[in-house]
């Protein structure tokens, strides 16, 4: 059943998808940092308030993924920020996250050598978002 984008249920299903992924388990080995995704508000898309997704990823596992405020996500070791529409493009495979970062469509904050070392892991995380059946607020 589809869940509302970036809701608690969405975060739970996303976490399950990450933990089911053998590709992420392998690519994320050695990762020990928190990742925050900031989804910026777009009221005209029926996404009126910014939200944060706080991901506790550790050594190839998702120990916790929860929805919080944008401020919560900004406290993480790595922070990726983009408006709602961009994240929707990533989750629907319209936008490749690596390309998005190189183009500045997704803004990354954090130690670059570390994130580059884990490019495969971040690509697989993106893949996991595409597997969550999602109800998009601008489509309902």
């Amino acid at each position: 059943m589809a869940v509302k984008a970036f809701s608690d249920d969405w975060a739970k299903q996303f976490k399950d998808e990450v933990n089911k992924s053998s590709a992420y388990k392998a690519a994320g080995k050695g990762w020990k940092w928190t990742v925050g995704l900031v989804v910026e508000a777009e009221p005209d898309k029926h996404f009126p308030e910014s939200r944060g997704l706080v991901m506790d990823l550790f050594d190839g596992d998702a120990r916790d993924i929860r929805v919080g405020s944008a401020g919560d996500a900004q406290k993480c070791d790595f922070v990726i920020t983009a408006p709602y529409t961009r994240w929707k493009q990533v989750a629907t495979k319209e936008l490749d996250a690596t390309k998005g970062m190189l183009q500045g469509k997704l803004k990354l904050k954090g130690d670059l050598p570390t994130i580059v070392r884990y490019t495969k892991a971040s690509q697989e995380l993106t893949e996991c978002t595409t597997r969550v059946p999602t109800e998009w607020p601008d489509e309902s």
Partner: protein, 159 residues
């Protein structure tokens, strides 16, 4: 140890690169996201690793990188301990690398082996070599500038 049930998370300390701006400069008033990312990556790499610093201090070259699937590129002007990044491809380049975004990123994941040479026999190295053979990774100026290319690869590598 981290307890998943609390908000407290114990982590390895991330290295920061406060002096980065002294090593890396941007020629354009508004550097592209790609230029900033490469500049940030190289600055952090060099500050964290004395071997890379040595390569950086010795390197004099103009290196172009064109990302074919986003139609964006940069020119990196290495000048013996200083790097200036230009948006787009500038004339007089020593080496020009053309590849898709994913391949460009994988160049940073090449391991450096004995004698400081990039490793082309592990998974990432084989992937890069295959892209070269398939023409999906093009390096203009490679044949006549192998030592420079190796030095650039060492500076790029995050491993």
């Amino acid at each position: 140890m981290h307890d998943a049930g609390t908000d407290r998370m114990a982590r390895r300390k991330l290295k920061t690169s406060a002096k980065r701006t002294r090593l890396v400069e941007y020629a354009d008033k508004e550097p592209s996201a790609f230029a900033e990312m490469l500049g940030g990556l190289i600055g952090a790499n060099v500050l964290a690793n004395p071997n890379k610093q040595q390569d950086f201090d010795a390197l004099k070259a103009r290196v172009g990188i064109w990302v074919t699937d986003i139609d964006e590129g940069v020119t990196l002007v290495f000048d013996a301990g200083r790097l200036t990044l230009h948006n787009g491809l500038e004339p007089g380049r020593t080496i020009t690398i053309r590849a898709e975004a994913e391949t460009v990123m994988s160049l940073s994941n090449l391991k450096i082996g004995v004698f400081g040479l990039p490793v082309y026999y592990d998974g990432v190295g084989r992937g890069v070599a295959l892209k070269l053979l398939q023409g999906k990774l093009k390096i203009d100026g490679m044949i006549s500038n192998v030592p420079t290319l190796n030095r650039v690869t060492r500076i790029f590598s995050v491993l």
